[in-house]
């Protein structure tokens, strides 16, 4: 990973991607040039410690255990490959000072929409600003909402040169998978935001994803995420998708670094973006 190096310094990740002149003219383009930083020192130390002991990981069949208004798991950050079935696991913990779950919910809808002067065939600038070296495009498959699936194109190596892959995100209803009404009510009352989906790709395979956004006891928004690579939801049950290719510790580590960097970055610009765009029409440039 040539563009990523956190040894001994606060590294700004070199953005090897560029945007077109037409994109540069959009007012939103100012968010594209905000410096992107490699993982913070605490996260980097955990990454350097190597993979998690899988016994500290949350098994995919227990994914609903993550949905809780206050609790933490034993290990909230790290990656591993499960020895039992070869599936991949990633846990990311990020705080978002100055942000709220409502801001995050707004961004995850808004980034699927195109602004009126966004050039065709150049991806989606609203997604690119989130992680400039890796992100290309993001959209609702039904042009309306996430119920029909969400399409995205991205790479994971922070611009080191790998091919971008196509992803379709299929929404999952935790309640249909067994989340109790009691927990759902507790989450709503605590102002938590839950996002659950499984992804399929332009190559064989699936990935189950779950994110809980909530306020910490210290009044800062925290995002607790998990991804289980090689698993999907079928008939409201988690199943292992053995067609999934490329599940290795190296891949899971790459995914963790990418997710950490993009989460840190979103936290840096979301309050300003929300203040500027949330009151404007959906197609504002």
């Amino acid at each position: 990973m040539d563009s990523y190096n956190n040894e001994g310094e606060k590294m700004i990740i070199k953005n090897t991607a560029t945007i077109t002149e037409a994109e540069k003219k959009l007012p939103l383009a100012k968010y594209y040039d905000i410096p992107l930083y490699s993982p913070g020192p605490l996260e980097q130390q955990i990454i350097d410690a190597g993979p998690l002991d899988p016994s500290f990981a949350l098994r995919p069949e227990n994914f609903l255990d993550l949905i809780h208004p206050t609790d933490y798991q034993k290990a909230e950050y790290g990656y591993c490959v499960f020895p039992e079935d070869g599936g991949g696991y990633m846990a990311v913990y990020t705080t978002y000072p100055g942000c709220t779950p409502q801001m995050l919910s707004w961004y995850f809808r808004w980034l699927n929409l195109r602004s009126k002067n966004m050039p065709e065939d150049q991806g989606n600038l609203r997604y690119k600003i989130w992680c400039p070296p890796d992100h290309w495009t993001h959209s609702f498959l039904n042009d309306k909402d996430r119920a029909g699936g969400v399409y995205s194109v991205e790479s994971l190596d922070l611009g080191a040169g790998e091919n971008k892959c196509e992803i379709v995100r299929h929404a999952v209803d935790p309640k249909a998978c067994g989340l109790s009404e009691e927990t759902e009510k507790a989450m709503k009352e605590a102002g938590c935001f839950v996002d659950c989906a499984y992804q399929t790709f332009n190559f064989p395979g699936s990935r189950l994803c779950l994110t809980v956004s909530r306020m910490t006891p210290n009044g800062i928004m925290e995002k607790i995420s998990r991804e289980w690579f090689g698993y999907k939801i079928e008939n409201n049950k988690v199943v292992r998708d053995y067609t999934t290719e490329g599940i290795t510790e190296k891949y899971m580590k790459k995914l963790l670094v990418h997710c950490t960097v993009e989460a840190q970055h979103l936290s840096a610009f979301l309050p300003q973006l929300y203040a500027e765009y949330s009151g404007l029409p959906d197609d504002a440039d």
């Binding site: 606060k10 930083y37 605490l42 996260e43 000072p97 006891p217 210290n218």
Partner: protein, 293 residues
């Protein structure tokens, strides 16, 4: 490796709060006591907890005392910014990293660091200093200027193990601030750090019992927002007449992994906690006379 870690809490417990000792009725009557009772003291956040549970760091990744001034950079991190260990030479080492969010301004921090040394007019005798207790309700007892004179140092009375030992066993320490320019930092480098917005704190601590801790920290803008502090403690060293000196009288209870871990947890908890109550405290008390209750 995390496969070697000792998990010493159950799932869900990391969000738990510490049980806070009750104030005396006289202290409870002071208006400032609401900052003691209204802000729960939380365990270290999940990232800190995970690193603490890895156990002692590899001494090879520590900044040895003979290279202590290498901490002073405006934009670099060490490989390990958070950890503790006993060094092969027999002294203790603690690396701490913390971030205060952007709503905590330098003015607030400077104001609190001065204000907490002043006793309010109706502070009861023999109960310590409630202004200091707010910062860490479990461990903090008293804080003030030695003989009322900053030049003589700042004294602190606290325990360091989040309530495991009784308060009566707290040890009084005196903090002796010094200027790193008297210890080998060139005027040019000092100015460059200052121009880059990096603030340096250097001191050594002595105790009622024998022993010394050398402390150095650099506070600067965090690239991800807020202000970050990278600090180091070398247990068993002091600063004297422009030289860093090994204090061979430092007792064995300070020179073990358990003590270092306790100090690390204490420092982490109080740093997290400061960010919770300081904005409201500053808003209310910074406009009052220094001795307001």
């Amino acid at each position: 490796m995390l496969n070697k870690i000792k998990i010493d809490y159950k799932e869900g417990e990391t969000r738990m709060t510490y049980k806070i000792p009750e104030l005396t009725p006289e202290e409870q009557a002071l208006p400032v006591s609401k900052y003691y009772t209204n802000y729960p003291l939380h365990y270290p956040n999940p990232l800190y907890s995970q690193l603490l549970n890895i156990g002692a760091m590899d001494p090879a990744d520590a900044l040895p005392v003979e290279r202590w001034l290498e901490l002073l950079t405006a934009d670099k991190y060490s490989k390990v910014e958070y950890g503790y260990c006993m060094m092969p030479e027999g002294y203790g080492y603690i690396a701490n990293y913390s971030v205060l969010p952007g709503n905590i301004t330098p003015e607030m921090r400077m104001w609190y660091i001065r204000w907490l040394n002043i006793h309010s007019k109706n502070l009861p005798q023999g109960c310590g200093n409630i202004r200091y207790k707010l910062w860490n309700q479990i461990d903090h007892i008293d804080h003030g200027l030695v003989d009322g004179d900053l030049k003589k140092g700042i004294y602190t009375l606290e325990t360091l193990d989040m309530g495991r030992t009784e308060k009566c066993k707290a040890i009084r320490s005196v903090r002796h601030n010094f200027d790193v320019r008297d210890y080998g930092v060139s005027e040019e480098k000092y100015q460059a750090l200052h121009d880059a917005g990096a603030a340096i704190t250097a001191c050594w601590e002595s105790f009622d019992c024998p022993g010394s801790h050398l402390v150095l920290s650099v506070t600067r803008k965090c690239p991800l927002g807020g202000v970050e502090t990278c600090s180091r403690e070398w247990i068993g060293f002091k600063a004297e007449n422009g030289r860093i000196i090994r204090d061979n009288e430092t007792p064995s209870f300070m020179l073990c992994e358990q003590y270092l871990r306790d100090v690390q947890v204490h420092n982490t908890v109080e740093q997290q906690h400061l960010a919770t109550f300081l904005p409201e405290l500053y808003e209310e008390y910074s406009k009052f006379p220094d001795d307001a209750d």
